[in-house]
């Protein structure tokens, strides 16, 4: 609905190394993702999809070209400015959950709020609410070691949405889960996208997981090989 796309790649190149050893991860990508979309990024390893994810998540910057996020040239910001951007507008979900060990679910979820300077009691309230949204009432004081993989990923999702971000970046969120757990997580992400209007960009290599997304982009050798939208997704 918004005029400018949320995410805009403009001839984005990303190379690593120099001279003979130079590796080309992205070769002039043009891409636009609007607010409210649920996009799956697919492709074999080395196709550049992870690099693209890192740039989308403001963790990395292009070697050349522009990366626009919410209308700002995010690719030109220094690391601390990008940290602010991530903290305010982006939530992350990883394949390996990446929760702090020996730290309760509630404390893990509170973490991004600490860097926002939210007061302790308010942090706790927001964290409890986010945990309830992902269906983890009663598990707030469990540490990751006391939770199953699916539950840990739910904690990670709660941590990602507790700041009410505009964008959720998910890097193979079901990669460590069995089929049943995977579909539960995907249903959760789908409802966050449809009910809360959260924009989701997800990397996966499983077609049935990608099928949850309204748009699938396939990467190959640093280029976009295909970009298809599901017909029923308006």
């Amino acid at each position: 609905m918004s005029l400018a796309p949320l995410i805009a790649f403009d001839k984005v190149w990303k190379t690593y190394g120099h001279g003979e050893a130079e590796v080309r991860a992205l070769a002039g990508i043009d891409l636009a993702i609007d607010e409210g979309e649920f996009v799956a990024i697919m492709g074999p390893s080395g196709s550049g999809k992870s690099t693209a994810m890192n740039i989308v998540g403001c963790l990395d910057t292009p070697t050349s070209g522009h990366y626009g996020f919410m209308g700002t040239d995010a690719g030109r910001l220094d690391r601390n400015r990008r940290a602010v951007l991530r903290n305010l507008y982006i939530g992350f979900v990883f394949q390996g959950y990446n929760l702090l060990p020996r730290t309760t679910a509630a404390e893990n979820v509170e973490l991004p709020l600490i860097y926002r300077g939210v007061a302790a009691h308010e942090r706790r309230t927001l964290a409890m609410k986010a945990l309830a949204e992902v269906g983890l009432e009663g598990r707030e004081h469990h540490t990751p070691a006391e939770l199953s993989g699916g539950q840990q990923q739910r904690v990670a999702i709660a941590r990602a949405i507790v700041t009410r971000p505009t964008l959720l970046v998910a890097d193979e969120p079901t990669g460590n889960l069995d089929t049943a757990r995977s579909h539960e997580i995907m249903q959760l992400l789908t409802s966050l996208n449809q009910d809360a209007g959260l924009t989701i960009v997800m990397v996966t290599h499983e077609a049935d997981i990608a099928a949850y997304a309204g748009r699938t982009i396939a990467f190959r050798d640093g280029h976009i090989a295909s970009d298809t939208k599901k017909l029923e997704a308006a």
Partner: protein
């Protein structure tokens, strides 16, 4: 936010309790050593000062013979002090509280079947004043006893213990050498001097009686002069020297044939020597603090490496470099501060034990304790900075991939 960080740091310290403790040990030992050294040192200084002031405050001691100079051989003939000098000093010296002649001899004292070798001192009542000595019981010498050289005496606490236990010695007759002497008073106990001398093993008698019956000569060994509080001892020393040169007709081209020692100056010199010693020992102990700091740096580097993934997560979800920097800096500071506090407790305990064992005053100094607290915190910050910076500069993508 900072309280949050401190809590986080304490938790991390607790989680690696053994490792933290071993890391702390360096700081603990360093701080404990510094605190113990400085506390014991200042106790010793106080003890030295107290010992010397026990001789009497503002005390100057005049003796025959030129001041001992380094390299000077034995003095050929010594012109002893006599009545003449005492009279001149008594008459002309200004700014003093007391002038008192005294001569001493170790003599066997007998009472009943008991005997004791004691320091017999011939003097007058001004001696008590000069040396800040009070009577526990009895009376001082009377005017006529001093002038007439009557065989009366004041005895010290050790002498009373030997002969009378805790009883009243007043009026008893003790034998000093071959002379019978009536006890008229008991001196207050002074205890041992800093040089290990029992100051209470003394018998005082009128100077003339001592000269005639014990020493067999009219020489005076020492003249004690106590300056009054308003007059600096250095001024009194100069005045004494002037009067003495005049009385003994020492011409300007000749050296003094007497010496004047200022006990206040000696006390100050000894105290400052002790302080220098303390400072040096403290500096040596400070080196172990440095070693402790390096230990902290080492363990913080390990900690940063171990928690690379955690740092990656924190950076990804929006932590600034400074958040990570502060987190690890606080952790290092908490660690070393904890070591500092334990070290202070141990150091004070050691100093307390030492002060009991060496019978010196326990003199903890708030300034030293605060300095130790500040210094250990500083060590944490300085040695924690590099590891913390390393953590803060990590690339979040790399850090998240770290296993």
């Amino acid at each position: 936010m900072i309280w949050e960080t401190v809590r986080l740091a304490l938790r991390s310290v607790r989680r690696n309790a053994l490792r933290s403790f071993l890391t702390l040990l360096g700081i603990v030992i360093g701080v404990a050593a510094v605190i113990a050294m400085l506390t014991i040192g200042s106790g010793t200084t106080e003890k030295v000062k107290a010992d010397i002031s026990q001789l009497g405050s503002n005390l100057l001691i005049v003796r025959a013979g030129r001041p001992a100079a380094p390299g000077s051989g034995p003095q050929q003939t010594i012109r002893q002090l006599g009545e003449k000098e005492v009279a001149a000093l008594t008459a002309h010296l200004e700014g003093v509280r007391a002038v008192s002649p005294a001569s001493q001899k170790q003599v066997r004292v007998v009472f009943g079947t008991e005997s004791l070798t004691s320091s017999i001192t011939g003097t007058d009542n001004a001696y008590l004043d000069a040396r800040d000595w009070k009577l526990a019981s009895g009376r001082p010498f009377s005017e006529s006893e001093v002038r007439g050289g009557i065989n009366v005496c004041l005895i010290g606490e050790t002498v009373r213990q030997q002969f009378f236990g805790s009883g009243d010695p007043d009026g008893a007759a003790v034998r000093i050498g071959r002379v019978s002497c009536k006890v008229v008073g008991l001196l207050e106990a002074k205890g041992y001097s800093g040089f290990g001398q029992d100051q209470d093993n003394v018998v005082l008698m009128p100077l003339s009686a001592f000269q005639r019956r014990i020493a067999g000569s009219r020489d005076i060994e020492t003249i004690y002069v106590a300056a009054d509080d308003a007059t600096p001892t250095q001024v009194v020393q100069t005045r004494i020297e002037d009067i003495m040169r005049d009385t003994r007709r020492v011409t300007a081209d000749r050296e003094d044939d007497f010496s004047v020692r200022d006990m206040t100056q000696i006390a100050d010199a000894m105290a400052s020597a002790t302080a220098t010693m303390t400072g040096m020992l403290g500096a040596v102990a400070g080196v172990s603090l440095l070693v402790g700091g390096i230990g902290i740096m080492n363990i913080m580097l390990v900690s940063v490496t171990e928690r690379t993934r955690e740092i990656g997560i924190r950076l990804a979800i929006g932590a600034h470099e400074k958040h990570i920097l502060i987190q690890f800096l606080v952790e290092a500071t908490v660690l070393s501060l904890l070591g500092g506090l334990i070290g202070i407790a141990i150091g004070l305990a050691l100093a307390g034990a030492a002060s009991l064992a060496l019978s010196i005053p326990f003199a903890p100094s708030l300034a030293v304790v605060l300095l130790a607290v500040g210094f250990s915190a500083l060590i944490g910050m300085v040695f924690g900075f590099f590891p913390a910076l390393r953590g803060a500069r990590l690339d979040p993508i790399e850090a998240l991939r770290h296993e």
